[in-house]
Symmetry: C2
Subunit: 167 residues, 2 copies
Amino acid sequence: MSAELFCLTYGAMVTEMLKDYEDPKDVTIQLDKMGFNMGTRLADDFLAKNANVPRCVDTRQIADVLCRTAIPCYLGVSATASSWTSGDREFTITLESNPLTELVQVPPHLVSAGLSYSQLIAGAIRGALEAVHFKVYASATESGANTEIRIRFDQVLKDSLPAGEDD
Amino acid sequence: MSAELFCLTYGAMVTEMLKDYEDPKDVTIQLDKMGFNMGTRLADDFLAKNANVPRCVDTRQIADVLCRTAIPCYLGVSATASSWTSGDREFTITLESNPLTELVQVPPHLVSAGLSYSQLIAGAIRGALEAVHFKVYASATESGANTEIRIRFDQVLKDSLPAGEDD
């Protein structure tokens, strides 16, 4: 699958959404929701393909699986985790490059107005982690040439664990 | 770039458009326009990367470049041209598989109502060919597991040739 085709399709989609929603902030919310739904499906796909990935027990391990396996697998780029705060409950994932923004230039006035162009990726991470019972908040920001995704761990979703796995 | 991510992003986009437009036919028209705009950009990208592709002088050559080079390059699948009619002015491109529909099931009632789910690809072909001065009509249909794109050649756009290349 060509990265150019994906980048242009995504750009066309966001352009379309900016026409439909008056407020760029609403486009960000919508991209986040779309990403979330995709993330829950990608989690299934990921688990089916990576049976050897161990069950994560802390956020350092989650960050490691995201940066070393999941993001390279689906976005085709490498990523690093840094800026750990709040007792490892928050961290930043920096994408080495961002296939969504490769061929596009996001107008600064839309960014100022609240458009987070790459929020689909943050939403997908949130959805994928929620599928494996980690509730997090995730937001994407473009920082120069880099895209950063700030992840804040909220809670382990014990209620939705299958009966017998609860403790 | 993962085909799964592209497929799910595209599915989310079409779902979003179906909510915004009342008539699935209008979604098809919109996908065609989006594809057209992408196609004009992909044509530039393609020409920059494939300096050795000869200038096409007939539809058989156009079909050959599309099926052997452009479609494998951007969609990552092979394609064949067949069903030539009207003195080679019309032909059908059959995609070996379609990354847009890999993980989705398009509800039959939307297809009956005029949704051509893969019209983005047909629009992109139309846009790419128009960028190199061939005006065509292109429409996509799912035929069982295959996606077929019917291309009808209209005219060579002589007016938009650079001065000096006109004959």
